[in-house]
Symmetry: C2
Subunit: 316 residues, 2 copies
């Protein structure tokens, strides 16, 4: 237990900030206590990251601290929620001070940036595994969900896609180029689209965060909503760095690589037009929802697919 008491000391600064706002009681009792304001719903999500599966072996603990919380908070952004607090269940093979200092530093940076406080946790000995549960709140009954897309809605994304996927090729580079650094930064420091998600409450008809790739995640919206979609590959936003690094392969990464943590959302055109311009300018329309099931991508010849490519090979 001495070793794990030591571990907890690294997270003490995060816990010390805990008792604030909705978090009535932070770490140290049998439970933490959150007071959800009247008129708001609690939304929450749990994510597990396993070394060698969700991040590379020997990945920088400081990047991992940021990344692990950002990835979890991105689910709050997809619901349009404001972050409140999180729990951390950490399995560690041993208490290495250097790793713990780096991880807790990255986690604290993310905690500050997203305005989310550590509410509690559990530490056990085992292979490196990180489970984070994040809590947020939304106005009652208004959380963005996957199931609200309707035929005629526009499909939008909140920023360039594919950078984080491309970064996987450069994680081991000792001296990355400027372009490589640009995409690596997207991988190491994903920024959940919290303000955008919140601004889309009552406007967007459906939303999801892009963790597994645009096509796979949009398909979740289509499945939940019982609709189809057609995208225009020419409209998918690609960063200059990605195009410079990957050329013709850039589009494929943007469609299928995950880890970018932009939002994909659907919205009626009049709702889009009515958005505050500061919000609207952060959205790129990439397609539209159709009654016909399936997901089609026009202008995707560079992928080697014929036009009308259907992601899941459905003929209906």
């Amino acid at each position: 237990m001495g070793e794990f008491e030591l571990i907890r000391q690294y997270f003490q600064p995060l816990a010390d900030k805990a008792r604030q706002g909705q978090l009535i009681l932070g770490p140290g009792d049998d439970c933490a206590i959150q007071r959800v304001p009247a008129g708001r719903d609690l939304v929450f999500s749990v994510d597990t990251l396993v070394e060698g599966v969700h991040f590379p072996p020997n990945y920088s603990p400081e990047y991992l601290g940021w990344r692990s919380l950002a990835v979890a908070v991105s689910d709050l952004a997809a619901m349009g929620a404001d972050p409140v607090c999180f729990t951390l269940a950490l399995s560690l093979p041993s208490a290495e001070p250097e790793w713990l200092a780096g991880y807790s530093r990255g986690l604290a940076q993310a905690s500050d940036a997203f305005g989310i406080a550590l509410a509690g946790g559990d530490t056990t000995r085992g292979p490196l595994t990180i489970t984070l549960q994040v809590h947020g709140t939304v106005p009652q009954g208004l959380a963005l969900q996957r199931s609200g897309a309707r035929a005629g809605d526009l499909v939008c994304v909140t920023g360039p896609l594919g950078d984080a996927g491309a970064a996987l090729d450069y994680l081991g580079c000792a001296m990355p180029t400027d372009e490589q650094q640009a995409v690596l930064y997207r991988y190491h420091y994903p920024e959940p689209r919290l303000q955008l998600g919140s601004a889309l409450i009552g406007k967007a008809s459906a939303a999801i965060d892009i963790s597994d790739g645009l096509l796979a995640d949009l398909q979740h919206i289509l499945d939940a909503s019982g609709v189809g979609a057609e995208l225009d590959a020419d409209k998918i936003p690609l960063s200059d760095a990605l195009v410079a690094l990957k050329g013709d392969e850039a589009l494929s990464l943007a469609l299928s690589a995950g880890d970018d943590y932009q939002l994909c959302l659907t919205i009626a055109d009049d709702k889009l037009a009515g958005l505050d311009s500061s919000v609207r300018h952060q959205l790129t329309v990439i397609g539209h929802i159709q009654t016909k099931l399936g997901l089609r991508v026009a202008n995707a010849e560079t992928l080697g697919f014929r036009q009308g490519f259907d992601h899941f090979g459905r003929s209906d």
Copy 2:
């Protein structure tokens, strides 16, 4: 992903029951949604169980299903909370149908027994590790905490202690005796003291669930409350089975072995007298809170300690 889709099917029956009461949205979206009733606080706790650390290797998956949820829900009982929902983050080396069927069956039994619905989860490949987060609610501002014990309060427990600790000796028995079966049942099927915890809201001054052993867990109350205590070893409730199996060793197990998941609580004597008799009769007074710091146990000579034994060797 096919394998993990398969895994999720085993938990589908739990998820199907999910959308009820406070749980507005269950598994399947980026987040689940809980609507906490006006006038109540959300309480929540996360617990990780690792094979070989928190349960024996090759432990019955059905027992584990019950046990893993019971252990987590016990933290809600300690706060006096009513269970609402839980998340399950499961790391598995592979998808073995027999294991998954057993685990999900035990989990469903516990879920029904405690009235707590599956709200969401995550499944990853890795060494067998189970992280459960449980949610409950309590009347606003009235959650039982560790910090409220005051000099003069009585120390109580909610049932016999030491059985689960004794059971560890018999886990491998092919033909356990009746007494061995009795203590094994306590280990396999702990019952969180939910109704008692709830009945003690506004009555008990502090509470904790006994997961690490009476002395260790009571010490958490003493530390949080800035007080000491003296227990009377003769008053510690011991089951007939435990005494028959362990003789003089029974008291030591009752004081120091964990896994029983009874509650330890402190309460002023007039509050105890004012409890409904059905509640009062389930409590055993085992000592009292003192201003003097430290934890003393009278009548513990059979332990080989001198009278006035101090658990943490403090002289203050």
